[in-house]
Assembly symmetry: D2
């Protein structure tokens, strides 16, 4: 019997307060809808939002978190550098991080990627089709050949990211664009997964296959009990 | 409750019959020692050897195998092309494959890699130190910063393989060589892990950390319930 | 002053002989059109076809070839295993190989990839848009953000290949599919580039940007004067 | 006739002023020794150092620089964030960056990697042997199977970097450590190469093969005339 994974769903939680459409789709906030998906799996799930003290991400909370999910859009600049640093260190130390949609521009994702993370976008309620290009990857478990979303914001290439360690999804949009939509990275001892869908004005996180991806991604990103590297000055292991 | 993973340990099983030193180290054969390590974990483990009919790898056996472990050295050429083809197709269809030591020259590994898989070698009972270079990888779970083997055959670079998707271990040898010792690949829907140690005249597979790596590798290589790609002529999903 | 790169354009050259439409688009054969594009750059270009003795690829020819371009479709099975083996060895020894369109199913590409190289396809004269996803790669030199082809055969994912070392192009098709259209691999000392476009019934190889890609790819795939690895039994470099 | 590549060699230039040993090995500073190696090739080479205004890296200088080489050790913290930001933007825009030895801890390298870039080290004048593991890579041109340095500082794994896009060199040290010594990355449109050797108290940059690697790396890292991605809000290319 292993203890359930502790997951925190972090949400900026602003759109829901000012846009009735968003509030109607996500009455408890995007974080609650995502947390609901994860609670249906075998995780121990909490939430945290921007306006809580320390954005709900105290050192104590982070230290006991196995995987952190991050949704942000309009207030990336309001996230304190101190909390970003704290999350950053936890990722390097092994915590998984799942970065959703517009959080491509979050401070933490840009910090971990080392690039601008810029892209093309268009809000036109377009269909999105996410093709599974790596069907043997754990994040593709339980899916069909593609996921179809009836209305989403479009994101298009060039997506200014480092080459993903593994590319799991590729998106097609009717307006003529493509996008690397599911990107896996190792950073330090921690795993990072960027997943494209989830504009606040569409019910994306209610859709079953998207919820399946989130559950799979949490399992994949969970810390591994590997060695803690020792850095710095060291003695020879063999006689010199 | 999920069913235990079905694992087959395949061994050429020739050295044990002709070399008393090898027989004394691996009285039941290398396969039995490896199988013992896996039985201590939660796997359902069988074995197969070269001299059995169809080398013990009938279509029926392979179809129900989640992960196949492969040890071979002096008789690669005796493995029938038909069985190689069968194993190959099962890997592309999702079966995990763990390739050990001198099986770098096995037909199945060369077929899956598309390169010569050649390398430098020396039998001098040298110390080997395997450094974990990716401590957040599942195959590194439970290990320290390195594994030390008191005597092993040396393998040295250039190792003529495709760039690994992930490199987990790097070996150091006192004679001056280094080697990429733990290499992960995705091939079709199946995962392949090459692991360097295990020359037949040393008790490598009795060592605890090596056994831990094998257990970890089986878990990592287990099939994922991802989509079965449909290939061939297809109808448009959108109106042309 | 360095000598010009020697390039051979290999073509199956069958469709041109039996299909008047293909013959009208490529009067001298697909190989001559491609060779013409390369002759405009600073290469020394020859051609070879299936029906020549040894398919035009004697050991002598291959030994002096820096980069080989391969187009095949309806007669992959007629390419002799001996010639495939010869090309394979030259690639591992450093010769560049550029694999075009339907040659995804050629013996040589499947051999080098170690996978089935299967995919989805549809002949419906669809528009293709190839997005440059790695604008800093040499193969993208001189291009815009995408290349547009007014009519092409569609290829769709899942494309059963190993993860490319570098992915340069992603294709969009109006029928709803995406495809990894420009894939770089290192195999041995040789570089391999798979490039999707070029169905025989469309004038793809007459289009300027496509010709630019071919020129860029030849430059990228040219052999590098790196070390020739020594394999086999070796003496220690340090005292044991 | 193409114009020669403009290269700037940046050096902290502090050790040379305070340590007579370093001054005796590098009388004009490490930057002049490296610049000398590059001037023997067909580059147009300048230098810049920490104590110049703007560290010698004005926007004007950077805008006309094709490849920047960076050596720093004891004064990383004195490099202004403004200049780091400027270099960072130029790399994303296509400038090549070659990061040497102790500059693994430079602000610019850590920014581009997104990890701590920490490692093990020991100053004991140990032999270093750099094995070429990717003999077909342009940075290996003209080299033998390995480079041997008679005395160097040791760097050992775990090196906390993202998985390199390509790993060219692996180092062996007699004290028992290994290290990923030549690591290629794409960041934005720019290429980054980390090269391990070059502690200030050893004559490393006078050694011929090391100079060859630097020349090769400059050629590899030179900007490519690929597309400038357009980011932000965009119109559909196809009718919605």
């Amino acid at each position: 019997m292993t203890a359930p994974l502790r997951v925190i769903v972090w949400n900026e939680h602003r759109h829901e307060k000012i846009n009735p459409l968003v509030a109607s789709i996500y009455p408890g906030g995007i974080h609650e809808t995502i947390a609901g998906a994860l609670r249906e799996a075998d995780f121990q799930v909490g939430t945290a939002t921007l306006d809580e003290p320390e954005h709900g991400l105290s050192q104590e909370v982070l230290s006991s978190t196995a995987v952190l999910i991050w949704w942000g859009h309009m207030a990336h600049h309001e996230v304190s550098d101190e909390v970003v640093e704290r999350v950053y260190r936890r990722v390097l130390d092994g915590m998984g991080l799942i970065v959703l949609h517009s959080a491509h521009f979050s401070k933490i994702f840009r910090r971990l990627m080392g690039t601008s993370c810029d892209l093309k976008w268009r809000e036109a309620g377009e269909k999105e089709r996410l093709w599974v290009v790596e069907p043997g990857h754990p994040i593709a478990a339980g899916l069909g050949e593609y996921i179809e979303l009836q209305g989403e914001e479009m994101y298009g290439e060039r997506f200014d990211i480092p080459t993903p360690d593994t590319l799991v999804f590729l998106s097609w949009f009717p307006g003529g664009e493509v996008f690397r939509s599911g990107c896996c990275y190792q950073r330090g001892r921690g795993k990072v997964f960027y997943f494209r869908p989830g504009h606040e004005t569409y019910p994306t996180y209610h859709q079953l296959q998207i919820r399946q991806v989130l559950v799979n991604a949490v399992r994949w990103a969970a810390p591994v009990d590997g060695p803690s590297p020792v850095f710095g000055n060291t003695q020879p292991l063999e006689p010199l």
